[in-house]
C-alpha cells in the first residue's frame, strides 16, 4: 500500500472517530436537555396536580370546609403566607412536617389566591419592612405571617397543635391534635372579614391561664390580652369582650365598680365559675355585678342523679343539654360538665333585662351544699338547674350581653387540651363568643382539627420476649444464614 493510500485511510478513520465522538457527545447532551426540560415542565405544570395525600388522616391536604371557603374568596384576592425562615428540608420529627405539605396544598388549591413563600429575615432583613412598614406586628424568625391588604396575623408553629396538659405539667408537651389547617384557614377568614376585635382576660384572681381559650379566640380573629387586677383597675375602651375565666377568689371592689360601669356602657363579657377547689367562695361582689344582668351564681355544686346524664358514680361529672335557642351552637346538644355551680335568674325587677337558660341539667339533678369543716352535705330538691345562662338588655342600642358558665369545662386549659378543638364544648364556646361579639356575621368557617397519625401497635405484643425473638430472627438468623450460604458458594466456586 502506498504511503498516500495509508494516509488517506488514516485520515478517513480519524474523521470517522471524530464524527462518532461528536455523535456520542451530541446525543448525550440532547438527552440531558430533554430530561431537564421535561422534568422542569412536568414539575411546574402537572406537579401540583399529580400530588396526592395518602396520609392516614389527610394531614397534608385541605378539608372540604377550607377548600370551599378558599373557593368562595374573590378571584383577585391575594393572601400571602410568609414563613419567616428558610424552607425546612428536614421535616422528620418536627412540627413542620404537618405544616409545610399542608401550606403547599393551600397554594396549589387556591388558584393564585394564596401564595406561600419562605423568607428568612436574618438573611433578608428587608422582608420585615416589606410586610410591616410601620412595625406594628410582632414579626420574628420562625413564625408564619399571613398577610392580606396590609393586615397581618402571625402564627407560631407551636400554636398549630393542641397538647396534653397533664403531660405538659411533667415537662413534656405531647401534641394531641393537628390544628394547622384550623389555624391558617381561620387566619385567612379573619383577614378576609376585615374585622378586628380584642378580648381582655381579668387576671390576678387565681384565674385559669387560658392558653387554649386564647387560641380559640385567635382562631376567631380576636386578639387577647391580660388585664391584671389592681387598685386602679379599668377596662380599656378597645375591649370588645371581657372574660373572667374561673377566678378562685371573688373580685375586689375596684373590679366590681369597673365591671358595673362596663355594663352601663354596653360591654360584653363572659364569666366562668366552677365549684372545683373553691367550695367556700360565694363570689358576693361578682354576684353583685351579675345581678345587674339579673343573674346569680349559687354556692352549690350540682349533682346529677339521672344515670343517663351522670358520667361518674358521684354524679358531679355529667352531661348537660343546650336549650332550644342554642341547638345550632354545636353539632350535638349534649355537653360535658363537672363540678358545676347552678346559675339562676336573680330577682332584679327591671323588665328590660332578658335572661335565658342556655344549658340545663336533667330534671332530677340536685344542688349540694358542701360544708368543708365537718363534711356534711345537704341536698336541695331534685330539679332542672341551669348551668349556663345568657343575659342582655332589650330596647336599647348596643346593649350589654353576657354568658355565665357554672362550669369550667368550656374554657379551662385542662379540658380543652384533653378534648381538643373539635369537642362540642369548644364548638359551643366559640359560638357564644361569636354571638356576644357579633363575629358570627363575619367568620362562619369551622375547620375541624385532625387527629395525629397514630402508628401504634398492640402494646400487649410489644414484650421484651417478642422484641428479642425478632432481633434474633431479623438481625442474626436471616443475615447469618445468608452469609453462611455466601461463604459456601464462594468456597465452591473460587477455583472455577
Amino acid at each position: 500500500m502506498s504511503s498516500n493510500k495509508k494516509s488517506a485511510n488514516k485520515s478517513s478513520g480519524d474523521n470517522r472517530q471524530k464524527y462518532l465522538k461528536l455523535y456520542s457527545v451530541g446525543t448525550v447532551l440532547i438527552l440531558l436537555v430533554i430530561v431537564f426540560a421535561s422534568n422542569i415542565l412536568f414539575e411546574n405544570i402537572l406537579g401540583k396536580h399529580l400530588t396526592f395525600d395518602l396520609s392516614l388522616s389527610n394531614q397534608n391536604s385541605l378539608t372540604k370546609e377550607s377548600s370551599d371557603f378558599i373557593a368562595s374568596l374573590p378571584a383577585d384576592a391575594n393572601f400571602r403566607i410568609v414563613g419567616l425562615m428558610d424552607k425546612p428540608t428536614s421535616l422528620n420529627n418536627s412540627p413542620m412536617r404537618y405544616i409545610v405539605p399542608l401550606l403547599d396544598d393551600y397554594a396549589s388549591k387556591s388558584n393564585g389566591r394564596i401564595s406561600v413563600e419562605y423568607v428568612n429575615p436574618e438573611t433578608y432583613p428587608s422582608i420585615l419592612r416589606e410586610l410591616d412598614p410601620q412595625n406594628i406586628y410582632d414579626l420574628s424568625s420562625d413564625k408564619f405571617a399571613v398577610c392580606y391588604q396590609g393586615r397581618i396575623i402571625t402564627v407560631e408553629p407551636y400554636d398549630c397543635f393542641t397538647y396534653d396538659s397533664s403531660y405538659s405539667q411533667q415537662g413534656y408537651m405531647v401534641p394531641t391534635a393537628n390544628a394547622v389547617e384550623y389555624t391558617f384557614t381561620n387566619a385567612i377568614a379573619n383577614l378576609a372579614s376585615g374585622i378586628t376585635a380584642k378580648a381582655y382576660f381579668v387576671t390576678g384572681l387565681q384565674t385559669d391561664e387560658s392558653v387554649q381559650l386564647k387560641h380559640v379566640l385567635s382562631s376567631l380573629g380576636m386578639e387577647a390580652e391580660d388585664l391584671p387586677v389592681s387598685n386602679g383597675f379599668a377596662i380599656p375602651d378597645d375591649c370588645d369582650l371581657l372574660i373572667l375565666n374561673n377566678p378562685q377568689t371573688d373580685i375586689p371592689e375596684p373590679v366590681e365598680i369597673a365591671l358595673g360601669e362596663y355594663i352601663d356602657k354596653g360591654g360584653d363579657f363572659i364569666v366562668v365559675l366552677s365549684f372545683y377547689n373553691n367550695v367556700t367562695e360565694s363570689y358576693s361582689r361578682l354576684n353583685n355585678v351579675l345581678n345587674k344582668m339579673n343573674l346569680n351564681v349559687d354556692s352549690y355544686v350540682l349533682r346529677e342523679n339521672d344515670p343517663h346524664y351522670a358520667l361518674d358514680t358521684t354524679g358531679f361529672a355529667s352531661l348537660i343539654h343546650s336549650t332550644d335557642g342554642y341547638k345550632e351552637f354545636a353539632s350535638t346538644d349534649s355537653f360535658r360538665a363537672s363540678y358545676a355551680r347552678p346559675v339562676r335568674a336573680y330577682d332584679n325587677p327591671f323588665s328590660y333585662i332578658t335572661t335565658e337558660p342556655v344549658m340545663t341539667t336533667s330534671s332530677t339533678a340536685t344542688a349540694v351544699i358542701v360544708d368543708p369543716d365537718n363534711g356534711i352535705s345537704e341536698f336541695e330538691n331534685e330539679n332542672t338547674y341551669n348551668v349556663v345562662m345568657y343575659s342582655t338588655y332589650t330596647g336599647m342600642t348596643n346593649p350589654p350581653q353576657c354568658f355565665v358558665f357554672g362550669t369550667s369545662d368550656f374554657t379551662s386549659d385542662s379540658y380543652l387540651s384533653s378534648y381538643g378543638y373539635n369537642d362540642a364544648n369548644v364548638q359551643f364556646i366559640r359560638n357564644c363568643i361569636k354571638k356576644v361579639t357579633g363575629l358570627n356575621e363575619y367568620n362562619n368557617v369551622f375547620v375541624y382539627t385532625k387527629p395525629l397519625d397514630d402508628y401504634s401497635i398492640d402494646s400487649a405484643k410489644v414484650t421484651s420476649t417478642n422484641v428479642s425473638v425478632m432481633t434474633v430472627v431479623f438481625m442474626v438468623v436471616i443475615p447469618l444464614a445468608l452469609v453462611i450460604v455466601a461463604v459456601i458458594i464462594y468456597n465452591k466456586r473460587k477455583n472455577l
Binding site: 462518532l20 448525550v28 438527552l31 396526592f52 395518602l54 438573611t123 452469609v483
Partner: protein
C-alpha cells in the same frame, strides 16, 4: 435482553454477592424495624424511606461486577461480537440488579406482615413510599452500572459508585456550603448583602433540585407526588444511556 437478564440475575446467586447484599439489607432493615417495634409504633413508610440511606452501601455491592467483571475476564467481547443490541445488554443487567432489589424487599414485606399481625397500620401511604423506593433503586442502580462500565476493576467501580451516591446524598449539605460561600464572597467584593444572599439561595435551590433524597422525603408523611418518580426514571435513563454510550464507544474503538 432476557438472556442477559437471566444470566446476570443467576450470577448473583452463583457468587456470594447476592447473598451478602440480601443479608446486609435484612440486617439494616431489621435494625430499623426492631427499633420502631420496641418503641410501640411502626410506620412502614418511614422505615422504607429510611432505607434510602443504605443505597450507598448496597448498590455498589450489587453493581460493581456488572461490567467490570466481564472486562476483567475478557468476556465483554461477547457483547460486541454477538448480534445483540448493546442497550439490551445494559437494560438486561439493570433489570437483573433491580430484580435482586425486589428480592431484598421481601424483608420489608415480612415486617409489614408482622406489623399487621400486631394490629399496626399498613396504609396506602406505605405503598406510596414503597413505589418511590423502587424508583430510587432504579436511579441508583443505573448509576452503579455506569460506574461499573468505566473501569475493569470491581473495587474502583464500587468506590466510584459509592462516591457518586454519597455525593448525591450530601447534595443538600454541599449546596448550603456552596451557597453560603458564594454569598460571602459576593458580599466581600461589594455586592449588597440581600443580592448576594439571593444569588446564594438560587444556587442552593438549583443544586437541591438535583437531590432525589429531598424530592422524595415527603413520601414518608404520605405525600405521593408523581414528579419525583419522573425525575428518578428520566435520570435512570440518562445514566443507562451514558453506560450504553461508553460500551458503544468501546465497540467502535475495538473495531
Amino acid at each position: 435482553m432476557f438472556a442477559v437478564f437471566k444470566r446476570e440475575f443467576l450470577s448473583y446467586f452463583r457468587s456470594p454477592v447476592g447473598y451478602v447484599a440480601i443479608a446486609l439489607f435484612s440486617f439494616l432493615s431489621g435494625y430499623i424495624f426492631i427499633n420502631n417495634f420496641s418503641s410501640g409504633s411502626v410506620n412502614i413508610a418511614s422505615e422504607v424511606i429510611s432505607m434510602r440511606s443504605f443505597f450507598v452501601v448496597i448498590v455498589p455491592i450489587i453493581t460493581m461486577g456488572s461490567f467490570a467483571e466481564d472486562k476483567k475476564r475478557g468476556t465483554e467481547i461477547l457483547y460486541y461480537t454477538t448480534p445483540v443490541d448493546l442497550f439490551s445488554v445494559v437494560f438486561g443487567k439493570f433489570l437483573a440488579a433491580f430484580a435482586l432489589y425486589m428480592i431484598m424487599f421481601v424483608n420489608i414485606i415480612v415486617h409489614m406482615i408482622v406489623t399487621k399481625s400486631c394490629n399496626g397500620i399498613v396504609g396506602i401511604g406505605d405503598w406510596g413510599s414503597i413505589i418511590v423506593f423502587f424508583f430510587l433503586a432504579a436511579l441508583f442502580i443505573s448509576i452503579g452500572l455506569l460506574a461499573s462500565a468505566i473501569t475493569d476493576s470491581q473495587i474502583i467501580s464500587a468506590i466510584a459508585c459509592f462516591i457518586i451516591i454519597i455525593f448525591i446524598q450530601l447534595i443538600s449539605t454541599i449546596s448550603a456550603l456552596v451557597g453560603n460561600t458564594i454569598s460571602a464572597f459576593l458580599a466581600v467584593i461589594g455586592v449588597s448583602s440581600e443580592s448576594a444572599n439571593s444569588i446564594g439561595t438560587a444556587i442552593v435551590n438549583g443544586m437541591n433540585w438535583l437531590d432525589p433524597f429531598t424530592k422524595t422525603a415527603d413520601f414518608r408523611y404520605g405525600v405521593f407526588s408523581v414528579s419525583p418518580l419522573i425525575f428518578c426514571v428520566s435520570f435512570a435513563i440518562v445514566f443507562m444511556f451514558l453506560t450504553f454510550r461508553i460500551l458503544e464507544k468501546k465497540r467502535w474503538a475495538k473495531s
